[in-house]
Amino acid sequence: MIDHHAAPPPAGPVPWDKDFALRLLADMVRIRRMEEKSAEMYGAGKIRGFLHLYIGEEATAVGALHALSPEDNIVATYREHGHALVRGLDMAAIMAEMYGKREGCAHGRGGSMHLFDRATRLFGGNAIVGGGLPLAVGLGLAAKMQNENRVTACFFGDGAVAEGAFHESLNLAALWKLPVLFCCENNLYGMGTAIERSESQTDLCVKAASYNMPALRADGMDIVAVHKTTQDAVTRARAGQGPMFVEYQTYRFRAHSMFDAELYRQKAEVEEWKTRGPIHTFSARLKAEGKLTEAEFLAMDAAANAEVDAAVAFAEAGTWEPVEDLLREVMTPENAP
């Protein structure tokens, strides 16, 4: 039986200079504020469809993505707002996309679950569980065949581990020694089904090992651990030593989506995990080390809120794609570059 209880809050020294530490903290705060506002705008009817919030899991995307380089490829899931933001997509373009506006990163064709950004090599937002894994294998294959120094980081949840795509992809990547990182954000639930109710083997690293793929596990609530572990995996992949599986043990503080009454978990469990919240525990460690003052934190938070307000204003002012353009972007236009 897997332990749903939270471990003690992340603690210990932060091996980063102040500037780097505050940049990562700021990114976590930016995600948190953006997600809170998204939920609010969903309630206001501005955002529709499915909306999956990343609140609670911020340390994973921020720590992992800061261990990657601009030339690397990112493949994500439908819970990808945070990854898109940290990767460098403009918050305004994300918000406008969730509003369904033409100014969104996909002109309103994708919505919350399909954020893409060619400039930062963000290959989506995939709303089929496990759907991104084969894609990541192919991106890794292309990089290898073209001798590009490019690692592909593929994010997915613990639910994806039950899909055939997971097993086929790990096998292919290991067989062909591709520079792919399989980044599993294990938040203990595939939608409303706890991992021990869906997996006969709940030690996910064992599954990777069965494909001859080394696996690392990190406390996904501890941004320092996430960053260090990802860095180790990236170094190995970049050196041509093949793929790697990384499990980030994390927790989703909010419901699966906006339609989830959370009947499958105890409130006490959620509260217990909140004591390990990645933002306040990291802030506390930085303050203890003299790398962060309360005033600095408040300024950071105010900046994030201002960015969110500007993003909302941008989305509100955005326009609707004309219905006459409905069939655009189904096929590539002739004479496209």
């Binding site: 996909a106 893409f116 894609l135 055939g164």
Partner: protein, 324 residues
């Protein structure tokens, strides 16, 4: 000078040409390498181009088709061979949810320049799980182009434009055609936009594709012996359908029979009939007829399989019924 070769040789030549011409092109799939291709389409390639570019895959249709999509996004020009349409069902998620939707859901940021080839069709006593003709399903999906090479010229000429296409192209090769021999004309270039009239006639338009084309041609010869001149249209491109060529032929002949190895209900034939009705209804002298597969999983026993599939005799009978 035109020359004789068979369908398999024509397709092999087309792949060889593509591999020589563009270092981004590579072939992947089950037994495409050391084995030489399930149907010997890539015989000799493994030795000539090496295991990187002639890439054998495990039996992971979902995984390697998805990987081909990723490789296409990453700058390569993969040709992925799915052994047969039957096994493509294991890869359908990647084809429909990723390849076909990718450009649109990314707001036009990414195209997927991928070619997927697969064997289709029945007629070899392979029973229910190896005899599907599901190209009509694929033709339902926006975001992909669907081709059905039915002649030597199609087999030789369709791959190059498919590889040049920035979007996913799915090519269905009917197993009944592989040993078919024919003349390859000097100009064998094929445009992957239009259907082609294979036989000119005036009395009835027989509209078909893939493995049913030779059957339609045989039927047309039998009809000619009875004084009925049939026009035979090879659709070639199943998505997007070339409505203009279809309707021009029907408007000329005033009668049409659609022949399709897919099951009757919800078939590609139904779509062709709908387009005829929408566009040239008042040109028709008789209701449009169709000859499709019977509504049964394809049986093993030869006489039952033959009875389940479109045959020249069924096409002749349909035309004669129509002409009274």
């Amino acid at each position: 000078m035109s020359r004789r070769l068979n369908y398999r040789e024509a397709m092999r030549e087309a792949m060889h040409e593509a591999l020589v011409a563009d270092p981004r092109v590579f072939l992947m799939g089950e037994d495409v390498g050391m084995y030489g291709g399930t149907y010997a389409f890539s015989k000799g390639f493994f030795d000539e181009f090496g295991p990187e570019r002639i890439r054998d895959t495990p039996l992971s249709e979902l995984g390697f088709v998805g990987a081909a999509i990723g490789a296409a996004l990453g700058g390569m020009r993969p040709i992925v061979e799915v052994m047969t349409v039957n096994f493509s069902l294991l890869a359908l998620d990647q084809i429909v949810n990723t390849a076909a939707a990718y450009r649109h859901m990314s707001g036009g940021q990414f195209s997927v320049p991928l070619v997927i080839r697969m064997t289709t069709g029945a007629g070899r006593q392979l029973a229910a799980q190896h005899s599907h003709s599901l190209e009509g399903w694929y033709a339902h999906i926006p975001g992909i182009r669907v081709l059905a090479p039915a002649t030597i010229e199609d087999a030789r000429g369709m791959l190059a434009p498919a590889l040049a296409d920035p979007d996913p192209v799915v090519i269905f090769e009917h197993a009944g055609l592989f040993n078919m021999e024919g003349e390859l004309p000097d100009d064998w270039t094929v445009d992957i936009r239009s259907a082609k009239v294979r036989r000119v006639g005036t009395d009835v338009a027989i509209i078909t594709h893939g493995g049913s084309l030779p059957k339609a041609m045989q039927a047309a010869e039998q009809l000619a012996a009875a004084g009925i001149e049939a026009e035979v249209v090879n659709l070639r491109v199943l998505r997007p359908l070339d409505t203009a060529t279809i309707t021009a032929s029907v408007a000329k002949c005033h009668r049409a029979v659609v022949v399709d190895e897919g099951w009757r209900t919800g078939s590609l034939a139904a779509e062709v009939m709908a387009r005829i009705m929408e566009n040239v209804f008042f040109e028709l002298d008789a209701p449009v007829a169709r000859v499709c597969s019977e509504e049964v999983p394809i049986p093993y026993a030869r006489h039952l399989e033959e009875a389940a599939l479109p045959q020249p005799e069924k096409i002749v009978a349909a035309v004669k019924r129509m002409l009274g």
